[in-house]
């Protein structure tokens, strides 16, 4: 069954990233905000962490996915963008600096016959651990400031895609 034919699609709100790598963990920070709220049964709010292959079952079991992740796209830190990739080839290969090759996973899901619709929320980040920058769980001020806005955006998108009976 394709996603478009589902009357009440199951929605996955997925934050990915590494909580230990400063701004890289913004996706997890957003999900932690949303986890505190009440959601309908068909909505799963998931801290995907650096889950890799562990996330495949979730990708296969939901028709709609709202994903939030950090990106280093050269925009000013705290810039929030919404991407709606029409096909897997539109997906960035890796968004940022954590382990998960999300496009690899979506391609794997497609091989198993699952083609969830994905909306991607990216937050441009300033500081991640890297050459000479050690681990930390703190967000940089400019990214911390947009956390409520990012959470509100993801919340709205989750409701929107959950309502749509067809794409």
């Amino acid at each position: 069954m394709t996603a478009a034919a589902v009357a009440s699609p199951r929605v996955l709100v997925l934050g990915v990233g590494n909580l230990l790598m400063r701004d890289e963990g913004i996706g997890i920070h957003v999900v932690r905000e949303l986890e505190r709220e009440e959601w309908p049964e068909r909505v799963t709010v998931l801290d995907g962490g650096t889950g890799g292959f562990h996330l495949l079952s979730y990708l296969c079991e939901h028709e709609r996915i709202v994903m939030v992740d950090a990106t280093m796209d050269g925009e000013p830190p705290g810039t929030i963008r919404v991407l709606r990739p029409r096909s897997l080839t539109d997906m960035p290969r890796t968004l940022s600096a954590h382990d998960i090759g999300l496009r690899d996973l979506l391609e794997s899901a497609a091989l198993l016959g699952a083609k969830p619709e994905v909306v991607l929320v990216t937050v441009s980040v300033a500081e991640i651990s890297g050459e000479g920058v050690p681990l930390s769980t703190e967000l940089s001020p400019r990214v911390l400031r947009v956390l409520p806005e990012a959470a509100a955006l993801v919340r709205g998108l989750a409701r929107e895609v959950g309502r749509q009976a067809s794409a």
């Binding site: 590494n18 909580l19 230990l20 790598m21 801290d47 995907g48 962490g49 650096t50 889950g51 890799g52 292959f53 562990h54 996330l55 495949l56 079952s57 296969c60 280093m72 897997l88 080839t89 960035p92 290969r93 890796t94 940022s96 600096a97 954590h98 382990d99 998960i100 090759g101 690899d104 391609e107 794997s108 497609a110 091989l111 198993l112 991640i128 651990s129 890297g130 050459e131 000479g132 920058v133 050690p134 681990l135 930390s136 769980t137």
Partner: protein, 572 residues
Amino acid sequence: MANRIVVDPITRIEGHLRLEVEVKDGKIVDAYSSGTMVRGFELILKGRDPRDAWAFTERACGVCTTVHALASVRTVEDALGITVPPNAELVRNLMFCAQYMQDHVVHFYHLHALDWVDVVSALKADPKKTSEIAQSISNWPKSSPGYFSDLQKRLTAFVESGQLGIFANGYWGHSAYKLPAEVNLIGVAHYLEALEWQKEVVKIHTIFGGKNPHPNYLVGGAACSINIDDANALNAERLAKVGSLLEIAAEFIEKVYIPDLMAVASFYKDWGAIGGGLSNYLAYGDLPTHGYGDPEHFKFPRGVILGRDLSKVHPVDGKNDAEIQEFISRSWYEYGSGDGDGKHPWKGETKLKYTGPKPPYDHLDVDKKYSWLKTPRWKGNAMEVGPLSRMLVAYASGREEVKEVVGAALKQLDVPVTALFSTLGRTAARGLETKLVAGWSKEFYSQLLANIKNGDTRLWAGEKWAPETWPAEAKGVGMTEAPRGALAHWIVIKDRKIENYQLVVPSTWNASPRDPKGQMSAYESALIGTPVANPEVPLELLRTIHSFDPCLACAVHLYDEKGRYLNQVQVL
């Protein structure tokens, strides 16, 4: 003049290791392995509550996630003198086994098989012949000509769409691929089946750990409660689910993974003489059957083998400061006592001092410091860790069931025991231990059910939970075997807070730079002599490195903002 190949990053799907190797006359003559991202866990953990450390260390990696939590809770328990109840040990063992089965199968099919299996060649296979071969090696039911024919059509459509996707990174058509088209098709079929299979097996982590990825652990026990009638507890239904997942896991390993491993290996026996590298092997051991405090009764025994001498197993003591030490003479750190020094992890220091080239760079300055990984040594010796080390230590310790499966595999392939010391041996050892783990997991499961039936539902020892019960100072070490090899955490607790915390992870043992004596670590050493037919497509190099199952997510964290992948190989 030798050619230098740079492969950065090296893992197929998740990667952040940089290798620089030199090729001369079709063989690798020199190799440098670098972790290009700093970690510094101690900096994040210092001053925190020791009972929370597992939740941070677990985030080190998405693949080894549970093993860091396990090492961490054991470390704190060791420091505080806590013994967990038998059921908690069993729950931990079951999570450990689930992790091994999932991780090793994923490694074989999704991270390593495509070094041996040519996906594009599978398009030319004859489905009928494929079916005959599949049925000759296993009674796995999905083996009809129609099944393989349908699969081939799906695969053809996928390839013709121009979206090779996860298959895009292979070196299809390379002369080093030796499998007949039909065996390639079996490999691809099981690649897809394994994807489907693995997403079920990991649900064991959700049942015991409340969530996955990053399941919950607990100092003193397991983070769940047993009540067979309670909807929210580990109840009869959930326990039955674990039992059925273990059955499904074991059947796939027995009927798909092992037959495929043997079939593929039989075409690549020459790899039983390539990629051996170091001759020393270290295993901390794991899977306690009489509690973590009694390593003699671990399913995977603890010990060291030196010089490939299987007649002697040396004991290992994580607390002896003359045994495990970390060196930084070739790593971007500095020690207060000087760069040549080796430090036991309890006295470990993490003072960053980057002296490498300013990125982006073409080459590391490999004559100086060239990695963010420290270099661990056991009594000054470079050690390989991982499945091969575990199987060799168990074999040399005289463990009958291990000797049996290893002996049978050697006989089936008609290769001598020395073939174990190789790229092929490493890959085979991983499969053989998976088979053993699948069997052991059923023993642990039966024991857990028997305990519950007898009225023992204890999962947590809470006597020393409150910090007021702790001594002013305490030190601990927690050892485990991650799928990739020996893993240990060391903690120093002072005034009820973490004073020092050090991780020595498997990929640090295997992927670290040279030590002050110039001795190579496992990756570098194993690459020497590995043939490279075409430096532009160094498939052979990947075989040897992938045989270790590199997961630098464990050792150092990746950065890949340019999205550079395996197929971008520079030849300089």
